[in-house]
Amino acid sequence: MPPLLQITELHTEFRTGAGVVRAVDGVSFSVEAGETIAIVGESGSGKSVTAMSILRLIPEPPGRITAGQIVFAGRDLMRLDDAAMRQVRGGEIGMVFQEPMTSLNPVLTIGRQITEALEQHRGSDHATACRRAEELLGLVGIADPARRLKQYPHQLSGGMRQRVMIAIALSCDPKLIIADEPTTALDVTIQAQILELMRQLTRRFTVALIVITHNLGVVARYANRVNVMYAGRIVESGLAHAIYHDPRHPYTMALLHSVPRLDRPRQMRLDPVSGQPPDLTRLGAGCAFQPRCRFAVPGCAIAVPPLAPTGTAGHLAACFRSQELANQKVALGTGVVA
């Protein structure tokens, strides 16, 4: 069976004053029905642009999807006209964004915002939509849903607004939900509640989930498979266990080493990634991480390493030295293979 979502060689560019930014530069990955995958990366790595490209929400100009295929449930989304695409967005693909303050309309009631989706996508009449909206709010754990439906977003806390966003995303029985930093703006105890809620609901309704985040802990709690992005490309991809315990790309390794751990006594010093994030208007010919990489060899500056199998099933890494990095045989800090 083909996967639910198959993205092949996606390229998205932005024209800026400083030149063309290839925000997404040849990204391919797939999502199976019902599974949760994560896209991890830092600001500017292209993770959000990837999500926006799937939904065809790239503002044009300055942005443009220049190449690639996005096949969702057997249809190429790139070929759909605007009306058909509107039916997919919010219908078969639900969305949850980072800022629950800005992604809800402040002048419409919560009820109106949920029923709007139902009426648009389902053609439900108002009474049916209202009943369903109430049911949905109960489902996402909002007490007294009938009263909440009549309220406006500013009357709700951040955590509750994010619950409303999840209710809207679920309203039309989607097959896939794309959640872009769904808990970043929330406090940690509320974040835990929202993560748990999303996990339960996606399992219960077998919805596939793409979580986009910079938080390595959130990914560990959530995802079956992980894609790590750097400078517009996927640099490593694999099962969560492999990514965390046998990383094969120096950037993934560096990320894991640079976060302080709550569950371990403090080490003397953190081991940060040296240097600054890449300037996407001025990428060289080689691997984008090469200027900051402690394992770089001269070849890294000449050609971009392809995303290639590491030997473990389903585990891919875009590094010429990924075999040598197996089980961290390379002594850390020296770049020398032990």
């Binding site: 940690v188 105890t189 910079h214 560990a220 995802a223 965390y244 990320l255 976060v259 569950d263 994030p277």
Partner: protein
């Protein structure tokens, strides 16, 4: 590192600090209809050379506490004894002298630097204000020196903030805080706006500077992993009060207050084997409004081990072990003792042994 701190007279002693903000109504005639109890009776000390972490979720009063110590707010009540002198009610003139000794690093490196000033002038500004290094040439040398101390090329003095990345800007903010050779720095979420890979660089820089210049930090943050790494002692705040205070390893390995435990359990750890095997029950409910906080213990409506008396008696902080202060009336019970991985599973209320 913890043992290098000698128990001298504390550099800072906060006693019974309260900061209430009035809630007003009316356009022509403003009248107070209530008050936000942002900080409501906070006590702690900071020893010379140590880093005290102040953690909690938004609205718990950690930033307001920091602003009171900086005297950006005049506290409603309480004492702030800095180096033997109560600074809670100093007037403007006396404050100027104080501010040479206490500086601040802000969270957002984008809004805390003036976009129209060059980096060099931003760093030189405190020296101008306080009349330190009146000679322009020497001031500029000092700016260059501060930049390189903070790991930036001295050439950056001629740049504008928008030409720099977030991490570089935060280094400028740190250089500005160091310009007057302060002894105490309030760090208000200094790394939370930064990317993971840059965060670690700035954390290391803050540690190096503390050692090199003998600084004392009050480190305000919501990221518990960063706090564990950087702080000697940690105070956990909830709704304007400190619920638990202990040295960092004790607090994170043997938390006692149910809120601390809930907070620690909520943080996802970057290891899928731990996370996906975890029986996970997040603490229910949300933080109540500080305008009308719950009676008794402020945490009791969400607390898994609350008993009837918690709803009317406010628990005072008690020292359960040397240096470990907990404001909970229930924690002396066997509930917490002998639990090997004290960190995670939320014990259901019925499991408490009395």
């Amino acid at each position: 590192m913890n043992d290098s701190v000698t128990p001298l007279r504390p550099l800072l002693e906060v006693k019974g600090l309260r900061m209430h903000f009035p809630v007003t109504e009316g356009i022509l005639v403003r009248r107070a209809v209530g008050e936000v109890k942002a900080v409501d009776g906070v006590d702690f000390t900071v020893r010379r050379g140590e880093t005290l972490g102040l953690v909690g979720e938004s609205g718990c009063g950690k930033t307001t506490t920091g602003r009171c110590i900086l005297r950006l707010e005049r506290p409603t009540d309480g004492k702030i004894i800095y180096d033997g002198k109560d600074i809670a009610n100093l007037d403007r003139k006396e404050l100027i002298a104080l501010r040479r000794r206490i500086q601040v690093i802000f969270q957002d490196p984008y809004s805390s630097l003036n976009p129209r000033m060059k980096v060099g002038s931003i760093i030189a500004e405190p020296m101008k204000v306080h009349g330190v290094e009146p000679d322009a040439g020497r001031r500029s040398t000092r700016v260059h020196e501060l930049l390189s101390v903070c790991g930036l090329d001295p050439k950056f003095a001629d740049r504008y903030p928008h030409e720099m990345s977030g991490g570089q800007r935060q280094r400028v903010g740190i250089a500005r805080a160091l310009a007057l050779n302060p002894e105490f720095i309030v760090c208000d979420e200094p790394v939370s706006a930064l990317d993971v890979s840059i965060q670690a660089q700035v954390i290391n820089l803050l540690e190096d500077l503390r050692e090199r210049f003998g600084l004392t930090y009050l480190f305000i943050a919501h990221d518990l992993s960063v706090v564990r790494h950087l702080c000697h002692r940690v105070a956990v705040m909830y709704l304007g009060r400190i619920v638990e205070l202990a040295d960092a390893d004790t607090l994170f390995d043997h938390p006692q207050h149910p809120y601390t435990r809930a907070l620690l359990a909520a943080v996802p750890v970057p290891d899928p084997d731990i996370e996906q095997g975890r029986d996970f029950r997040p603490v229910q409910g949300e933080v109540p409004s500080p305008i009308n906080p719950p009676s008794g213990c402020v945490f009791h409506p969400r607390c898994p081990i609350a008993v009837e008396s918690c709803s009317h008696t406010r628990p005072e902080a008690r020292e359960t072990n040397p240096g470990h202060h907990v404001a909970c009336s229930q924690v002396h019970q066997t509930f917490f003792v002998g639990e090997r991985d004290s960190r995670f599973p939320t014990v259901p209320p019925q499991a408490i042994t009395h």
